[in-house]
């Protein structure tokens, strides 16, 4: 074990910068502990307790910055120290360099970018509605990342957008891909002729990624936020998005993604689609085939099917051929599951799904309920299957870790894996658990180090349990996290890795059926 450090005289940084740099340093392979703090007496005493108080730090003053790293050998530690210095330098030049370009208001931003036609709003929900209305009054499209926007303000913004033909994506819209630019949590996808309107964030990520991974491309990915399809909001943003795609020359195929819309919204969609000539894929998770067909759209029951059908339509393949392929594939999945089930011991019978993405959790819940019966959840399909305590699983369980109860005071689980990692280990200790199911959604805005943050936990699981770990990775090869390396690392930790949530969920469902769980 080696410990080394650097003392920087008279350098000061804000606390968050130091904490984030320290966190990044801990992700460097071989680094066991790191500290980046001011040289106060008290901080020195903590360094001493952590075995990192170096001789040269002893005379440091409150105005000196101390960087200490503990790692497996000198080489690792020196590399980490250099990396920390780089990160600090970058943070400084970033804050200095950007200072001239950080406007404090919409008007200020427009002075810098007078040609901008879309505003991304991410302020406290209370103020987001007014900001959106202000932007719409200037004829700008809007994406509202914030949630908890007062409902009357959100509705007013949507009404203005609808009247003016401007997009109002949100409130609580986490994902969009506009003219190839990923906004919020989004993936780097190929450009093409498939346009998506989605009232489901991870649904949009899953469908756009599968399309891109299977030879198709995206013209626009318009998010609306899940609440838009409720009666109160009347699907105003969804309809505006749909109209935009119908009018868009670059879009040849349209995909609609949502939970089943309210009846009144459905009626409006029927009106809009009445004279549409473009093929439309309707993925209303949990809705009947008839509802989708009433729109003149091709019905699909999963996000995967939506993506694959859109690619087929874009390439001129028929719907019937596509359906046949999907049906034939079912046998393959069953055989795959049969093989996996052989690894389990008697007594292992339960499924435990721990999700980052709400739509993915919902889709898996629909698939499993259909295959193995009711599933307990913090977001159940039926109220009687609501978990008594979301922190504790019961029988077959699916937990959406993106729900408010888990995110208060901590980053979204797509960014911070800690909470789920803890829960994974708890599930692994339960001898009745047969399948631990995880989604890993990569792309912009999400955790940049999924290998470092997840794989060590899966290796722990391997030591204490022989439960099957099934992981679905949503993303593309162009995403910043290096998807290929991620999948290899997951497989090396004995996880069974898939790139389509519905496929992976079916594998899991057949495994449970096979063992009679």
């Amino acid at each position: 074990m080696a410990v080394k450090g650097i003392l920087k005289k008279g350098e000061y940084y804000d606390s968050v910068t130091l904490m984030l740099v320290q966190k990044d340093a801990l992700n460097i392979p071989g680094v066991e502990d790191a500290a980046v703090v001011m040289g106060t007496l008290q901080n020195k005493s903590i360094l001493e307790n952590s075995g990192m108080l170096l001789e040269e730090f002893k005379n440091a003053t409150d105005a000196d910055l101390l960087i200490a790293v503990k790692g497996k050998d000198d080489e690792v530690v020196e590399k980490a120290l250099k990396e920390i210095e780089n990160l600090l330098r970058k943070s400084r030049s970033k804050s200095e360099g950007s200072s001239d370009y950080v406007p404090k208001s919409l008007d200020g931003a427009l002075k810098i970018m007078p040609d901008a036609n879309l505003v991304l709003i991410s302020v406290a929900g209370k103020y987001a509605g007014d900001e959106a209305i202000k932007a719409l009054s200037k004829d700008l499209h809007v994406m509202i990342f914030s949630d908890n926007v007062p409902i009357e303000k959100a509705l007013r913004a949507k009404q203005i957008g609808y009247e003016k033909g401007l997009l109002v994506m949100g409130p609580d819209c986490g994902t969009a891909i506009i003219n190839g630019a990923p906004l919020g949590f989004a993936n780097v996808v190929e450009r093409g002729d498939i346009g998506i309107v989605s009232a489901a964030g991870t649904g949009l990520q899953e469908v756009s990624s599968i399309i891109s991974n299977n030879g198709g491309g995206i013209s626009q990915g318009i998010g609306t936020g899940g609440i838009d399809m409720k009666e109160y909001y009347g699907g105003l943003s969804f309809i505006t998005g749909l109209k935009a795609l119908i009018d868009d020359d670059e879009t040849k195929v349209i995909v609609l993604i949502s939970k089943p819309p309210h009846e009144s919204v459905l009626k409006k969609l029927q009106d809009v689609l009445k004279n549409n000539k473009k093929p439309v894929v309707g993925c209303f998770l949990g809705a009947s085939k008839e509802i989708v067909e009433s729109l003149g759209a091709y019905p699909v029951s999963t996000l995967e099917e939506a993506a694959l059908l859109a690619v087929s339509l874009s390439k001129g393949t028929s719907f019937d051929k596509f359906k046949k392929e999907i049906e034939e594939r079912e046998e393959l999945i069953k055989n795959e599951a049969k093989e996996l089930a052989k690894h389990l011991k008697p007594g292992q019978k339960y499924f435990r799904g721990l999700f980052q993405g709400g739509t993915l959790a919902y889709e898996t819940e629909l698939i499993l309920t259909d295959m193995i019966g009711d599933v307990y959840s913090n977001v159940p399909l039926k109220p009687e299957f609501k978990l008594k305590d979301s922190w504790k699983s019961e029988k077959h369980t699916i937990v959406d870790l993106g729900e408010d109860e888990f995110t208060v005071g901590r980053p979204h689980p797509q960014i911070d894996f800690q909470l789920r990692n803890k829960r994974i280990l708890e599930e692994a200790k339960d001898p009745e658990v047969a399948v631990i199911y995880l989604d890993v959604v990569i792309g912009y805005g999400t955790n940049r180090h999924p290998i470092e943050d997840l794989v060590p936990t899966l290796e722990e699981v391997r030591k204490i349990s022989n439960a099957l770990v099934i992981v679905n990775v949503t993303g593309t090869d162009k995403d910043p996290q290096n998807k290929k390396a991620l999948i290899t690392a997951l497989k090396n930790s004995s996880a069974h890795v898939y790139e389509r949530n519905a496929y992976a969920s079916k594998v899991a469902g057949y495994v449970i059926k096979e063992i009679g769980g």
Binding site: L26, T40, Q42, I46, S50, S95, G409
Partner: protein, 270 residues
Amino acid sequence: MKVISVGDKIDLKLKVLGIHSHFNHAINIYTDKGLVFIVSKDVGSGPNSIVLDESNLNKFTLDDISRFDYSVYSIYNSSFELFHKDLEVLVNNLKTLKDYLFNYAHPLSAVFLLDSSRKSNFVSLFSLNLANQLEESFNRLLNFDLNAIDSLKGLGYGFTPQGDDLIEGFLAAIYVYEKLFDLNLSSLRKTIYDRALTKNKVTNTFLYFTSMGLFYERFKDVLKALFTGFNLEESILKMLSFGETSGADILTGFIKGLEKLLEGGNELWQ
């Protein structure tokens, strides 16, 4: 550069000695009368602050001080008087304040002292040791073990360490408690301040004014709102935007301190 407001504890005949530290929105100046903060308008006023009608001070130099335009400015009153003493209103608003901290404060702020589940955000041995030390020392201070200040002051990351922010919040809690029950604990506040002094001139300045019952505008707005409910959410959010985690850390110290005082009464320090 147009001056909008000048703190009530600034003597404008001061002599500038140099720059202590320089941020985009605040320049901390050494003067013969102590530190003076020259800040942009979004930062807000303070007892020793000069607020300029500027949104960014990145290009500020000391020469600019001689060109300050003092033609129209207000004097900021940093003292805090309590006109409404409704404990029920205060307790309800403290709940709202906590909710806002849980929802909006940085995961690595001292808010883990109010919600222990946030401690899981501290992962390395060093940061856990630090969080544990903050918790242990601050809990001792809450029980008026003033020796705890020695291990709390200067503890934490960054320009204004969390330990100092917690002490500042605690001092504010004592002051508010005095106002609520018409007490005078100024000598206790002075003892805490004297003991909390370090070589960090910026936190010494914050602690000094708070120990005197003088507050920076954003904190004063929260204190006022806690007793009236007026602009509560807005003032909390503004306070939380202060100094990365400082706003949340000060408010944590304040809430914990005030709750302890309301629960324990004068037996705590006697």
